[in-house]
């Protein structure tokens, strides 16, 4: 189990690394496009590439943000309840979160398959959309795993509900 948890953490870090690389690429590409535009040589398809990179930045950072407890949540009511009730609410909300991201994983693959079959591509560079959907599906699946791992740790009493930083 520990090896599995370590593996999940490594993968979330790796995905976040890709997200970071895409953010830097977005910055460089846009700056280059603005500068080259001054010389009447804008980079063709910048608009499309930035959209693809943006999807990767937010999508691939989802699992990492979940591990770090980085999503906004309202804790003011729950933190006043007894530890037992808090645990029940934690279990319910984690399960609901897992259902949501499992459905997103599934639907992104289906949507990606549809886009691949119909051959839908971007207007200028004719880049296919489906790989982004598959990437999003992978990220949603990783969020599912992170939520399940947190739940498992609470079950095995290795962690309090909503403890920050998954490690």
């Amino acid at each position: 189990m520990f090896a599995f948890e370590k593996g999940v953490h490594r993968l979330t870090d790796l995905l976040n690394l890709v997200a970071g690389a895409c953010l830097v690429a977005m910055t460089i590409l846009t700056c280059a496009d603005v500068v080259l535009r001054l010389f009447r040589h804008p980079i063709l398809g910048t608009y499309e590439i930035i959209g693809f990179l943006g999807a990767t930045v937010a999508g691939f950072a989802m699992a990492y943000t979940t591990v770090k407890g980085g999503h906004v949540a309202v804790a003011v009511v729950v933190m006043r309840l007894s530890p037992r009730v808090q645990k029940v609410i934690f279990i319910i909300t984690q399960l609901l979160g897992m259902v949501l991201f499992a459905l997103l994983t599934w639907e992104c693959v289906k949507y990606g398959n549809d886009l691949r079959t119909s051959g839908e591509v971007s207007l200028t560079l004719e880049l296919p959309f489906f790989p982004v959907l598959y990437g999003l599906s992978l990220s949603a699946f990783m969020v599912c795993l992170v939520l399940w791992m947190d739940l498992w740790r609470v079950f095995t009493k290795r962690r309090e509900p909503w403890a920050r930083n998954g490690a």
């Binding site: 976040n16 997200a19 970071g20 953010l23 830097v24 977005m26 910055t27 460089i28 590409l29 846009t30 700056c31 496009d33 603005v34 608009y47 930035i50 959209g51 693809f52 990179l53 943006g54 999807a55 930045v57 937010a58 999508g59 691939f60 950072a61 989802m62 990492y64 943000t65 770090k68 980085g70 999503h71 906004v72 949540a73 309202v74 804790a75 003011v76 009511v77 729950v78 933190m79 609410i89 934690f90 319910i92 909300t93 609901l96 979160g97 259902v99 949501l100 459905l103 997103l104 599934w106 639907e107 992104c108 289906k110 949507y111 982004v132 959907l133 999003l136 949603a140 909503w162």
Partner: protein
């Protein structure tokens, strides 16, 4: 069950789940999915969800969010915030409460290159709090000043909340940015006056600072040069229409990196931290936007927003009274919820009401940003207070909340002035093409 009833039940369940400590973005996405699927079909609901996540994450307009967050992070790691504070201290340090006023000045300056409240507060707690402690400032005054000053981060452009509000309502981000400048300066002055009056009433809370010669003050001005250049480059390009907001964000981030490298302050470690923090904060923002978009689709098919607009429009009350009530909703809601989530959740319902009543959408954007920002320094959720307390762990929460209280009066005064004189917000956007 007809769609409207389903929508009202959905809103009720949403309110319950929002307080369950489940991430706000997840709650809105889940209830949006279930509600939409119930009214239309599961197949359509699932497809809408996947399309919205894909559409929001990959939207060119929204790529401005990570870029401006990146710019702020780089600015912090390149030491720009520290130099801003040093300059403000040299200029205002000898005034009563000079360090507090310098903190407000530095917050306003940093807000001009950073689009997030939390980032501004965290930065200023690290930079200004040790200085105020060293000069024996009262803990309430020093922490309250930082918590309140940080709220300037979302009012003075660039601002993540203005970006998201602009996209949600179809308003120009450039105009919203322009609309935030004068109210932001006005609020900074009101905050500085609050510090000044506080110290006049309780001189023991802030011992007098060092005096600086005119020559020193002039020399210190070089510390804000880089911020001014970056601000005018980014905002200037945006206002004259040379850049799109995304390009402005990228140029800002690129400019901040160049400043950091030229000044030899930006190290590899700081750069990597900037990138990692930026992806995390951007993802947090965009998941809320995606969740709110899915929930917004559910609300749209229930027709609740349009019915609410019609219903409120027919109320036998003057428009200003209705606006006052809307502001009150934001004020109360802002005390319990994150500003961004609160705005995204309410805009699909309240925006049609506001426009039907004839209020200017740009002005309304400024008002709700200001009002929800009151929530960041008021209990129980007061996020800025928690950020200060998270960094300065030895200071009790109640001391910071008490310190932030007088600054609420300053925000209320600014809101009242904006209600009376909408031109404060609208003057600059009206100059734009």
């Amino acid at each position: 069950m007809n769609p409207t009833t389903a929508g009202l039940i959905g809103l009720g369940i949403l309110l319950i789940f929002l307080f369950s400590r489940m991430p706000v973005g997840f709650v809105m996405a889940l209830l949006g999915l279930v509600g939409f699927s119930y009214v239309v079909s599961w197949e359509s609901g699932l497809r809408i969800m996947a399309k919205d996540f894909f559409g929001i994450f990959g939207s060119y307009s929204l790529t401005v969010v990570p870029l401006f967050i990146f710019m702020g992070q780089i600015a912090f790691h390149a030491g720009i915030s520290r130099r801003l504070f040093d300059t403000a201290y040299t200029l205002f340090g000898s005034l009563p409460g000079g360090l507090g006023i310098a903190t407000i000045g530095a917050c306003a300056g940093f807000a001009a290159i950073c689009g997030s409240t939390n980032a501004s507060v965290a930065t200023m707690t690290t930079v200004a709090l040790p200085e105020m402690k060293r000069h024996k400032y009262g803990l309430s005054l020093s922490t309250g000043t930082i918590a309140a000053g940080g709220s300037l981060g979302v009012l003075i452009p660039p601002s993540v909340i203005f970006i998201v509000y602009g996209i949600a309502t179809g308003q120009s981000i450039g105009k919203l940015f322009a609309a935030g400048i004068l109210p932001g300066l006005l609020l900074s002055i009101c905050f500085a006056l609050t510090v000044f009056i506080w110290v006049r009433l309780k001189p023991g809370s802030a011992p007098a600072g060092e005096k600086h010669t005119l020559k020193e003050k002039l020399r210190a001005l070089s510390g804000i040069g880089e911020t001014l250049v970056l601000f005018f480059l980014v905002m200037g390009g945006l206002f004259v229409g040379f850049f799109t907001p995304t390009e402005a964000g990228a140029i800002g981030a690129g400019g901040a990196i160049i400043i950091g490298l030229v000044r030899k302050k930006l190290r590899w470690k700081g750069f990597v931290q900037s990138v990692t923090e930026s992806t995390r904060i951007s993802c947090m923002v965009l998941v809320i936007v995606a969740g709110a978009t899915i929930f917004g689709h559910f609300m749209a098919i229930t027709r609740i927003p349009f019915m609410a607009a019609g219903w409120v429009g027919e109320l036998p009350l003057p428009n200003t009274a209705i606006m006052g009530f809307i502001v009150f909703i934001y004020l109360v809601g802002g005390c319990f919820m994150d500003s961004l989530a609160m705005i995204l959740l309410t805009v699909p319902i309240l925006y049609p009401v506001v426009t039907a009543l004839g209020f200017d959408p740009i002005w309304f954007g400024v008002i709700i940003v200001l009002v929800t920002e009151m929530g960041v320094i008021t209990p129980p959720v007061g996020i800025n207070v928690y950020v200060v307390s998270g960094i300065a762990k030895d200071i009790p929460l109640e001391v910071i909340f008490k310190g932030a209280l007088p600054f609420l009066l300053a925000i209320l005064a600014t809101v009242s002035l904006l209600m009376l004189f909408p031109q404060i917000a609208l003057f600059l956007p009206n100059l734009m093409r």
